[in-house]
Symmetry: none
Subunit: 203 residues, 4 copies
Amino acid sequence: MPTKKKPQVTPTPERRRELLATAAEVFAAQGYNATTVRRIADEAGMLAGSLYYHFDSKESMVDEILSTFLDELWQGYDEVLAAGLGPRETVEALVTESFREIDRHRPAVAIYQKESQHLATQPRFAYLADSQTRFEKAWLGTLERGVADGVFRDDLDIRLTYRFVRDTVWVAASWYRPGGQHSPEEIARQYLSMVLDGIAPRT
Amino acid sequence: MPTKKKPQVTPTPERRRELLATAAEVFAAQGYNATTVRRIADEAGMLAGSLYYHFDSKESMVDEILSTFLDELWQGYDEVLAAGLGPRETVEALVTESFREIDRHRPAVAIYQKESQHLATQPRFAYLADSQTRFEKAWLGTLERGVADGVFRDDLDIRLTYRFVRDTVWVAASWYRPGGQHSPEEIARQYLSMVLDGIAPRT
Amino acid sequence: MPTKKKPQVTPTPERRRELLATAAEVFAAQGYNATTVRRIADEAGMLAGSLYYHFDSKESMVDEILSTFLDELWQGYDEVLAAGLGPRETVEALVTESFREIDRHRPAVAIYQKESQHLATQPRFAYLADSQTRFEKAWLGTLERGVADGVFRDDLDIRLTYRFVRDTVWVAASWYRPGGQHSPEEIARQYLSMVLDGIAPRT
Amino acid sequence: MPTKKKPQVTPTPERRRELLATAAEVFAAQGYNATTVRRIADEAGMLAGSLYYHFDSKESMVDEILSTFLDELWQGYDEVLAAGLGPRETVEALVTESFREIDRHRPAVAIYQKESQHLATQPRFAYLADSQTRFEKAWLGTLERGVADGVFRDDLDIRLTYRFVRDTVWVAASWYRPGGQHSPEEIARQYLSMVLDGIAPRT
DNA sequence: CATGAATGAGATTTCATTCAT
DNA sequence: TATGAATGAAATCTCATTCAT
């Protein structure tokens, strides 16, 4: 993450997005609390105080990063959930969608992973807990339908399964680098294969 | 995590362990950077300054928490790795051992998850990176052996598999609560079942 | 004090006066230090930076507000003092003149009340202290003449009386609202009646 | 207001009071907004940050200064109002009490004068407006009783009279210096004499 | 004339740490 | 061992001011 030195300035709503992208990158790399606004400003090629022309506070930066990400995530998820797919296809679509989001919002996802528990205690970030709840509902419902339909095993604790699948997917954000050798779809395919069929060979 | 008010003082090495347990709990809940030493002191029923009789610094607290945990972890792992088991049995034993460690050191594991990447940049915490390397070697080796032996699938990217298994196990620390309805062995059993055989029923 | 949104621009000396009036209003309401130039700009329907086309600095705004007010005040006072009236008539004329100034320059008077002591420490605002001195001279002189002539009581500490009359009149700026039910002349009449004859009925 | 250099430290609740006294002095002299916490700390012989061991914020300092003052003020006022005095005696007692408060809490009174309007807009300082209301009720009631009883003139606007008396008394805080040549009781006596009988001699 | 973006100085606040008692 | 009070460094934030467009 070398310091960028681009004195050529881009127009206005663009600039905001650029700055948020920079901030997200640093937050993801160092952790929210360990990141100073000065560091973000350095990275953006301006002085710390100048950031406050664009944002109210450091907090409002994470806020915007996380809520933008969640808005997009739910747009994708809602489409999948509304498509009337079977449980297995729903799981496949959700996982694929998740890896696409990781691909597009990797820093945001990483921040979400590391900081959401901690941030959610503040009223301002209540939407994080809300999202968590919705998430759980969507996944648990799908898994239950799948067990009923016989496309998922019925000998597993369903909440354990939920956590297994959820964590399995999202922690990928901690190591995923966009532009790597695998596309998000390819990673999703392999993950799904492991999650659905296991790493032991089917006889 | 209610505030303890015990003016009766326990002998010194005991006290130290108590304080570290308290600190670990708070670090895990709030994150290392977001935790003030005052908060730890509050929780321990003393004033911030008093902690410095017991510890050199806040850093030395995490240090001791993490290194104690890793020492124990590797004791367990090394035993497994030295036992001359087959790859599948090794995986089973490592996962089971991991859930036992989560059971005994949940806060430490949670801290490790959240902070190790960030802390590892400091020389003092070089052992975190070392451990990471050893860890990777142990798991990758086992998986490769397993593929060679035909007990693990050969159509998967092996690094992806490694990350999948590693993350899958350790993130459990973020939701695991000791004394819950499942013992660590039971959770390990179910996780292994999912990881090895998948969540789709074997025909 | 509603936000004005007039993009139609008035010629330049007019505009200047408008902006000063706006600034004075805000300074009076919030206090000089607590007023940000952004707030003034908001109120004037422009951006903070744009004010600097019209004025050198925030300081120069108060400066102009206060000196304009004091110039007018002394014009009125000097006329009264030069008129060769008796001490009682002088007091009546000065008080009436004062309430007229409050009527026309209420925000300026309020600012003067609240900030002059503090501002007077800066060389730029030396004229505030000068005015204070002239003011004191005029009033004390008039009161002394009145005592000598027997039209004011001689059993009172004359400096106390001075402060009493001075404060009594000027603090009115803190509650006076132009266009209220009493004209400045009517308020002056009642104030004079209280100051000269007291609030207890004359037997 | 010279910098005090007393390294000898006084015990604990005492220290708090000392610091508040120092802060009040500076706030009164410079205005709340124009006062930096560094300035207060300098005056107290410590570093700016050290003040935060004793107080949450600069705001909480004024808060404590003002509320302490108002509590004491109302203790005195309530005693007077409960004493069942006639209207004229009540006025005399209230004015005397007021000058005593000015004597004991001069900086607090000065701060109250200058900043209360501005501070009262914040929820935290709602009690300032409450006090204002109570104050008005007490004075207006007394004045009305007096008019009805014939001990005060009936040809004056009563609200004007109220403001006249109120301001007249409290602005004294801006020039009063404890330990001056007049005791608070003596000042109260002269003020009352002016307010009740006017500055023109009774024939 | 006004905007949008930034600067730079300084203000408040936080917090790990120290130390005399 | 613990307390109470402070230090000192750094972090967040504020704001008057500048300037190219």
